[in-house]
């Protein structure tokens, strides 16, 4: 499973690489929201990410997975970063010619989400599973790229979803992603 994502080739000549090694454009369409570190704010993240992905014309499956990753990452920051303490999360994002990116910045104690990643123990009965780390696993497997950096004491995590025609998921029946002539 590829988690680290090297500098992306975006074709944008004057992009400003954000922390984490991604090259993204200084996109005039980039927007930002600031939310309290609380589960009640998850819907604002979802609205933000879904709006961004729809503007980028992401296929339905990619849009769902980007939202899932953003939702899981935000939940992780709230639960394992701030741990109930008051705080704020800044979420911004943008659309490049070949990818959509969403970046999260918070002031919780330094915490690389990848440390909590734990693939499901498929050989264990469900009732005996340790479930911690499942959300991070779902997040990382949902997107095409993830990066984390600690910048001046701030946690900075970036999700990337490529804008490309994606293969139909196994068993998928959604025809909305079909190219039209």
């Amino acid at each position: 499973m590829a988690i680290d994502y090297g500098p992306a080739s975006t074709g944008v000549a004057h992009g400003t690489p954000p922390p984490g090694g991604f090259r993204v454009a200084t996109d005039p369409a980039a927007t930002v929201i600031r939310i309290p570190a609380a589960l009640g704010a998850l819907d604002r993240v979802a609205t933000f990410v879904l709006g961004l992905g729809e503007r980028a014309a992401l296929p339905a499956s990619a849009l769902y997975r980007l939202r899932l990753a953003a939702d899981e990452l935000t939940t992780n920051i709230v639960m394992h970063g701030y741990r109930g303490a008051p705080g704020e999360i800044t979420v911004d994002g943008g659309i490049d010619p070949d990818q959509v990116w969403v970046r999260f910045q918070d002031d919780a104690p330094a915490f690389d989400p990848r440390q909590g990643l734990r693939p499901p123990a498929l050989d264990q009965p469900l009732a005996e599973r340790r479930i911690g780390g499942l959300g991070v696993y779902l997040a990382f497997t949902a997107v095409d790229g993830f990066a984390y950096d600690l910048v001046a004491g701030r946690n900075v995590s970036t999700l990337v979803m490529l804008r490309r025609a994606e293969p139909r998921p196994p068993g998928g029946t959604d025809v909305s992603d079909e190219p039209t002539e």
């Binding site: 819907d43 939940t75 009732a127 599973r129 499942l134 959300g135």
Partner: protein, 103 residues
């Protein structure tokens, strides 16, 4: 974002109907409803998910809780889950222990 949950129990078969988006903010209600079904002594748990448009790991935790609380002898089925929701359940490996029906 909205989430709605309904529980009915007939002859010890608990049926939970989920509608909307099940994220960490909504997961407490799902957990409590699963707990109510288990406490009522349900011998089977059927979760209708045809109108569940989103499922995060927080909802999956409640499925683990259901398995832990109800025991291995209780059949737990998720019925009619949309493809992205079913995909998440499979990716987590929960389909080994929970029946995915019409998904």
């Amino acid at each position: 974002m909205s989430f709605d949950i309904r529980l009915r129990i007939n002859e010890r078969i608990a049926v939970i109907e989920l509608t909307g988006e099940l994220d960490a903010a909504a997961a407490g209600r799902f957990h409590d409803t699963v707990d109510e079904a288990a406490t009522a002594g349900a011998i089977e748990l059927v979760i209708h998910a045809a109108h569940l448009s989103y499922l995060s790991s927080a909802g999956l935790r409640s499925l683990v809780f259901a398995r832990q609380k109800m025991g291995d002898e209780v059949r737990i089925a998720v019925v009619g889950a949309p493809e992205p929701v079913a995909r998440t359940i499979r990716l987590a490996g929960f389909d080994h222990s929970i029946s995915l029906v019409d998904a």
